[in-house]
Symmetry: C2
Subunit: 103 residues, 2 copies
């Protein structure tokens, strides 16, 4: 199983959209922040502050970035980038396990 | 925010009961295994392999251990022990954030 080593993990999770998205915040030794999470099958819109790279560990989704008209499909092993101060719609078609990399 | 330091975290979560319980597995530097997770409001029955100590970080629940007839209430800041090779029923009345300590 793939691991992220040498991190501090928050005991309390982030629960979004009534639990359809649950993540735990991580801090690496160099101060870098990431999160590991799950999004259950659903269609949700997320706002971003910092730019994000979403690394998909398991599952499948369709992403529509703000300002784009067409959704793009992504699956386990792939990543997509989201600009800062933006938003994206995600349609999760198979429970998504992800690592979110910030900055 | 309370942290658990110096751990390896599994990128892929454990999803139980259609996502009503989601946890991420942790391994400490000395090899000790723990997990951090969330249980959404619901009534669920969990089976245990190893003995567990459930540390409640946020939320509220009522626990009925196998062989007991009465539920006991627990809330954030409290812990309860579950024997190995056993089971317990948990009624989560306010979304539960927990750390599970094994062994």
């Amino acid at each position: 199983m793939e691991l992220i080593d040498n991190v501090s993990v928050a005991k309390k999770a982030n629960v979004y959209f009534d639990g359809k998205c649950i993540s735990h915040s991580l801090t690496l030794a160099d101060g870098t922040k990431k999160s590991v999470g799950v999004i259950l099958p659903s269609t949700l819109t997320f706002n971003t502050g910092a730019p994000e790279i979403m690394e998909l560990v398991a599952g499948e989704c369709r992403i529509t970035l703000k300002g784009e008209s067409e959704a793009k499909a992504y699956k386990a092993g792939e990543s997509f980038n989201v600009p800062g101060d933006s938003s994206f719609q995600i349609e999760v078609t198979d429970t998504l396990h992800y690592v979110c990399h910030f900055g």
